[in-house]
């Protein structure tokens, strides 16, 4: 093969990124549920025929890291020979290389000159897939079978034709089939756009050349990643964190890491972690792998082309049957949203011992997953919705943590108040940042947010899956911990907000399902704040004064957290 100049390589890399971005735009513009079109809870990717991810864009790290496994599983289980032009496969099985049940992958082979050249795919959070809880986020599930409809890789479109039998099974098991229909079409539509664009590249460069170029890009990313790892001192670094409870039993579940840096590779050994939980905070192997990759990638150069070459030097070791590698038929819906950022934070905490100048303190790490369902009084139609909030990110050695951010495992947006109220019978009473919720430090952790919602319908059924409502995001190098989060309820006529355990007797304050609320009841969601970096005493008075002026800390907070008298 001729040598390929670096200019052409970077052109090809950019073109692949652009295809993925374009898929994302199409999905945002055409999908039905807010978690798609406002939340952008999806990731678009391109694979070569061997199953290497050669293109991605600024999407959710959990899906990007796990796409590698989901696509490979599909290719291996079905066999390359079973794909035909115009096919689309759907797949959400956590026991076949997927992250958790709501994440659905659609995958389309791209044929060029009569053979499969590669695949275009996207993974997206389908908001309602059946199971024991509306919104399919069963915080008290004990088996995967309660979490919704499980789909192994199956064709939903075969040679361009709908496989209606499969569609009927899927749509009969979802509570809001119309929305699923719209969202799945948005996903599949974006695949045709990507296919067309990839074919355009293939015509321009030729199949062999594009394969060679993408191989070079994979190697290039791997080489660069190895160089970056080489700059990290060799050694064994330990860190741990816990999930405060699992939704079924009120016991913490521990994640423990031994991270070994060995020349140009990193081994993330999670085998000392707790056995798998009864409730759904278990991570699948691919979630743990994706979180391990993400930890490393957050601490190395942002300029490395993002493809599966980046992941190659990172080895993940787990034990089946543990919280970081759930065994069938354990539940895992919260593993992907809540446990993932904890795992990633633990990687960063371990590496902070080796490369303190690049590390960040822990983030709030909760998506504050809030699910609700009911019949809309205006339309008489049944709806469900998956709602998320952002938490504070950890401070780094070079800046304060960002406030109210999607946890690291995703890269999702919030739903605007004006969109939420247009679609669902809630009135938002406030949406604010929480003073003093950022961990104090030379650099301050990001703030969590507060949202209060009032029920406008006769009934709304709510569920939640959060964490860090009893525990805290830790600080680094003397930095203080971030403020706790929480979800609270004020029944109509009550004078104060209470925890759901107090008001409804749920096992966990932060993880529960199917609580029935009535008109006039209010829910308050507090997202946790991020940890601080460096001793609070080292924070400059100017920064403290600014935080006071902007209301990011209160006068009491200044005294208590910083010993600063305003």
């Amino acid at each position: 093969m001729e040598t390929i100049d670096t200019v052409t390589l970077s052109v090809i890399n950019n073109a692949l990124i652009n295809i993925c971005r374009e898929m994302g735009t199409a999905m945002m513009r055409t999908s039905y549920s807010p978690i798609f079109n406002e939340g952008l809870d999806f990731s678009c990717v391109i694979f070569n025929r061997r199953g290497d991810m050669i293109g991605q864009a600024e999407f959710c790290p959990t899906m990007l890291g796990s796409a590698q496994y989901a696509v490979n599983w599909t290719i291996e289980e079905l066999g390359l020979e079973s794909f035909e032009p115009g096919d689309v496969v759907v797949h959400n099985d956590p026991y076949r290389g997927q992250c958790h049940m709501p994440e659905h992958m659609v995958l389309k082979p791209v044929f060029f000159e009569g053979q499969i050249w590669g695949f275009v795919a996207n993974i997206a959070h389908v908001g309602e897939i059946g199971g024991m809880a509306p919104g399919s986020f069963a915080a008290d599930a004990t088996e995967v079978y309660q979490e919704g409809l499980r789909l192994p890789p199956v064709k939903v479109i075969s040679r361009g034709e709908y496989v209606k039998d499969v569609w009927k099974i899927i749509l009969s098991n979802h509570r809001t089939p119309k929305t699923s229909w719209g969202d799945l079409h948005a996903m599949i539509g974006s695949l045709s756009i990507a296919e067309t664009r990839l074919l355009g590249m293939l015509e321009r460069y030729g199949g062999l050349f594009l394969t060679a170029a993408s191989d070079r890009l994979l190697d290039y990313s791997e080489r660069w990643m190895r160089e970056e790892i080489r700059e990290i001192p060799n050694g064994e670094y330990h860190a741990s964190d816990c999930m405060e409870d699992d939704g079924v039993t009120d016991q913490p579940v521990w994640i423990r890491l031994k991270l070994v840096v060995r020349d140009d590779e990193v081994i993330a050994d999670w085998t000392q972690s707790d056995p798998q939980a009864r409730g759904p905070v278990n991570a699948t192997f691919v979630v743990t792998a994706a979180a391990s990759y993400s930890g490393l990638l957050h601490l190395t150069s942002n300029d490395i082309p993002r493809n599966s070459g980046c992941y190659r030097p990172i080895r993940v070791v787990t034990k089946p049957g543990s919280v970081v590698n759930v065994r069938h038929p354990g539940p895992s819906v919260g593993g992907n949203t809540e446990t993932h950022p904890h795992i990633q934070n633990v990687v960063v905490a371990a590496l902070s011992q080796a490369i303190p100048e690049r590390a960040a303190a822990a983030e709030g790490a909760s998506g504050c997953n809030f699910l609700f369902a009911g019949v809309h009084p205006d339309t008489g139609e049944y709806y469900t919705n998956y709602h998320i909030d952002g938490s504070g990110w950890g401070a780094t050695g070079f800046h304060d943590g960002n406030s109210a951010m999607c946890p690291e495992n995703g890269n999702c947006r919030n739903t605007p108040v004006e969109v939420l109220e247009n679609k669902f019978p809630w009135r938002t009473l406030e949406y604010r940042l929480r003073s003093d919720s950022g961990g104090p430090g030379r650099f301050r952790g990001g703030l969590g947010s507060s949202r209060i919602l009032r029920v406008l319908a006769p009934e709304i059924t709510v569920s939640a899956l959060m964490d860090r409502t009893k525990t805290h995001a830790w600080g680094l190098f003397g930095g203080g911990k971030g403020g706790r989060g929480g979800i609270f309820v004020k029944k109509k006529g009550d004078t104060q907000f209470r925890t759901f355990s107090e008001a409804f007797g749920t096992v966990s304050d932060s993880k529960f399902t199917r609580v029935l609320l009535n008109e006039g009841d209010e829910v308050m969601i507090h997202s946790p704040g991020g940890g601080g970096y460096g001793p609070p005493a080292e924070r400059s008075p100017e920064a403290i004064e600014r935080d006071l002026r902007q209301g990011w800390i209160s006068p009491d907070g200044a005294r208590e957290l910083y010993g600063y008298d305003p």
Binding site: Y69, N72, W73, E76, E77, Y95, R96, G97, V260, R262, I267, D269, F285, V286, A289, R315, V316, V317, T318, K319, P320, S322, N325, R327, H328
Partner: protein, 63 residues
């Protein structure tokens, strides 16, 4: 010395084979290493290699 093997379970069965190093569930093809009575299953020779040059020594050290 290892060899490639594959999961021959029928399509209607649910059997899960885990890699003895990384813990991943293996879709179909796996790498088997048999030494005496001991039979180890890996994703690929890379996992076998890490098993030998990382996992075994680290267990020995702890023991």
């Amino acid at each position: 010395m290892g060899r490639w093997d594959e999961n021959t379970a029928e399509w209607y069965e649910q059997t899960m084979i885990y890699c003895d190093l990384c813990g991943r569930i293996i879709p179909k093809n796996f790498w088997v290493v048999e030494e005496g009575a001991e039979r180890l299953v890996f994703c690929d020779p890379d996992c076998e290699k890490l098993y030998n040059d990382y996992w075994v020594p680290s267990q020995d050290r702890e023991a």
